[in-house]
Symmetry: C2
Subunit: 420 residues, 2 copies
């Protein structure tokens, strides 16, 4: 597949400038970016008149539980601990591969309509989920989800098999959290990291209670504990990072670990507000995720970007506490690098064609005092006109090319009754 996008503006995210011209794709890669160019000697499968709208790298959802769409609006009354133990874990015990297949497809439809081109997904029944990803054409990075209830027995197999499954699919080591993983299993995690010289990700410091519990058990915070156990010796990072101490940030900074923010989920579950500005002041590696639909409940990277930009303002009494461009970088190139998608970070010749088209003719994107700020402060899923992954257009003007949405909705509403 080759596509010529013309009459477009392009925010490559190599910097915050916007160039006018064309972008060409050839198979899964970008083959040209630059000014208007004579294409009369070329044949494209599609010539796409962008009518002045904006091409930019796809958004990277750097922490989610895709198939948790089953639990959207299902148990909105609990804080994290009760939510997990009373509402989620008992239902997850009933999850079958079929549930994960269909509810992951629903999440992909949600992602594509919101300009998300890859996700970093911690969940179960990964084989069936991988099948759904490849059928959809979605770029899916699995994260290990092991804890004391299960998952360690499959962890190495997944690492080997899913990294050799399909170019769209990869796997990074991960475990659920300190409070669900005993010391022996944490040591096992560290051994695997060392065996493969591989990065490891986990939920970390999501609630104040989690940090207190860890200190009671080990005398230190989760970040210090994992660091001491060698879990982060080959990189990785943590999801949430709400209750990080300055020492935790120091460890993450020095080791080059990724802090992945999940503002909506943290508000909804009453977990807290991450002081995003402190991570930026310390020039740390940051990325952004939606978390699952059970706790968000949307899967919108636009809502996350908005909140990661403004939520620090009240605490700091500074309306410019967080630069929206830095947040847009975290949501695009930051997420890509965090997930090991080093070719999907920015728009450039030779990079993967993971691209979205923002409809600048939406009223919320006007006037054009500052396009980057319009995106971060005023954007939502309604401004996404087209989503391309690996050079294939998967979503355009509300329609999906690889997902039968009516079928997915029908199956999901049948299957949700098993889990109600």
């Amino acid at each position: 597949m080759s596509v010529r996008f013309y009459n477009c503006r392009i925010l490559t995210m190599t910097d915050n400038s916007i160039i006018e011209g064309e972008l060409w794709t050839e198979n899964d890669r970008i083959s040209y970016i630059g000014p208007k160019k004579d294409a009369s000697d070329k044949t494209f499968d599609r010539e796409f008149d962008c009518k002045g709208s904006l091409l930019m790298p796809g958004l990277k959802n750097a922490h989610t539980h895709s198939a948790m769409t089953f639990s959207r609006s299902l148990a909105d009354e609990y804080c994290l601990n009760d939510w997990l133990h009373k509402a989620i874990f008992p239902r997850e015990a009933k999850l079958t591969p079929e549930h994960v297949y269909w509810f992951a497809k629903l999440a992909y439809a949600d992602y594509l309509s919101g300009g998300i081109t890859s996700c970093f997904d911690m969940y179960f029944h990964k084989d069936e989920n991988a099948k759904a990803a490849v059928e959809t054409g979605f770029r899916h990075v699995f994260c290990g989800a092991a804890n004391d209830y299960g998952g360690f027995e499959d962890l190495e197999r997944y690492f080997v098999e899913l990294n050799d499954y399909d170019p769209l699919v990869s796997f990074i080591y991960g475990f659920h959290a300190e409070y669900t993983t005993c010391e022996d299993n944490l040591k096992l995690m560290s051994e695997l990291a060392h065996k493969y010289k591989a990065p490891v990700f986990t939920h970390i410091s999501e609630t104040a209670e989690e940090v207190e519990g860890c200190k009671e058990r080990y005398g230190v915070t989760p970040a210090v504990l994992f660091d001491k156990l060698g879990i982060f010796d080959f990189g990785g990072g943590g999801f949430h990072c709400v209750w990080f101490t300055d020492e935790d940030r120091e460890i993450f900074k020095n080791r080059g670990l990724w802090s992945v923010f999940n503002a909506c989920s943290n508000l909804k579950l009453a977990s807290g507000i991450t002081p995003v500005y402190k991570f930026i002041e310390n020039d740390m590696k940051i990325a952004i995720g939606t978390d699952g639909a059970g706790s968000n409940n949307a899967l919108s990277m636009f809502r996350e970007m908005y909140l990661d930009t403004v939520l620090s303002n009240v605490e700091t009494k500074n309306a410019a506490a967080v630069d929206p461009y830095v947040i847009l970088k975290a949501a695009t190139s930051g997420g890509a690098m965090c997930m090991g998608l080093n070719d999907s970070d920015v728009l450039d010749v030779g990079k993967k064609a993971d691209i979205i088209l923002i409809d600048m003719n939406k009223p919320s994107m006007q006037p054009e005092n500052n396009i980057v700020r319009n995106l971060v402060y005023s954007g939502d899923n309604s401004i996404v006109k087209m989503t391309m992954i690996d050079g294939k257009i998967l979503y355009e003007d509300g329609k999906f090319t690889t997902i039968d949405l009516d079928e997915v909705i029908c199956e999901c509403n049948k299957l949700r009754k098993d889990l109600a």
Copy 2:
């Protein structure tokens, strides 16, 4: 114009139940709501197959400055006081009626695409704005914007003329705020309220500094001051209400005054977080607005509803601090009653046909564990399929029937240069 909506689900907002069937309109009113009905003896101008999607009352934006779309993404670095004095007031001094006409039209396009069917608007050049409203078919409730810099001289004329201008337009007394209005002018405001037995609205307790300043000047909070001066003797209410004391809430509760929340603007300008749960616990009258695009910067009632529901969670450590249905009521019937639109509050026979169609086939609205929660926790402008005001369809599938959006965008980008 008469429309038959069929194959629909209907959330009337008289309660939180959803009925299946049909809704008919005749001119500006709803003529039937109920189960599927034989319509073979009737002729409609349009028969609209809703394919299972959801009709509900339009969202009411109960505090905004519509034409401030000129300032979207223009001055995002200031907290409220500097923002007003350094960025906004100097530019507003240059505003002409032409600016207000075009930038109000841009706001209407934004409102319509986000399911907003009326706004409560405090701004300048109201005559030209009223013309834009009627041309668009938008239901516009003006709020007086008087302060010491101007506006008191026109206030009574506007009250008389704009309430007799067009069925789509009305005017309610209002002044900017205590900190921009001297005691003599506050007394003038009270006299007008008494002369016409009319409600009065104003910005109130938006920042901690505002409340402190008022206490220095008068020894009391703004709410106590206005109450003592008789400004609220015939009702009305306040915008923002972030820093209300318990006594302020008591006054508002006892007088039946409206508290209008503006969560996004308050976060962006670092003003604070309104403890919405306290207003609900006290069974107060509440409504929701976006504030202007200069401080939000979106004009999305969905983002406001989400934040008004979840922002109390962290402070209260309670994931169910605020009931999403109560917030949806505040954003629909609450806003309508606040603005004096007593016939636009819910869907019922004889009520105004101010109706929106929510596309339930959007992935973010699935699965259907709880439709009201899906709307509040996961909704954004992308789920709005159709917006009808006064029985006329003004927006459908991304297209406007009364606004030439290309022309509006072109004019606004020309005119913004006068104000850059």
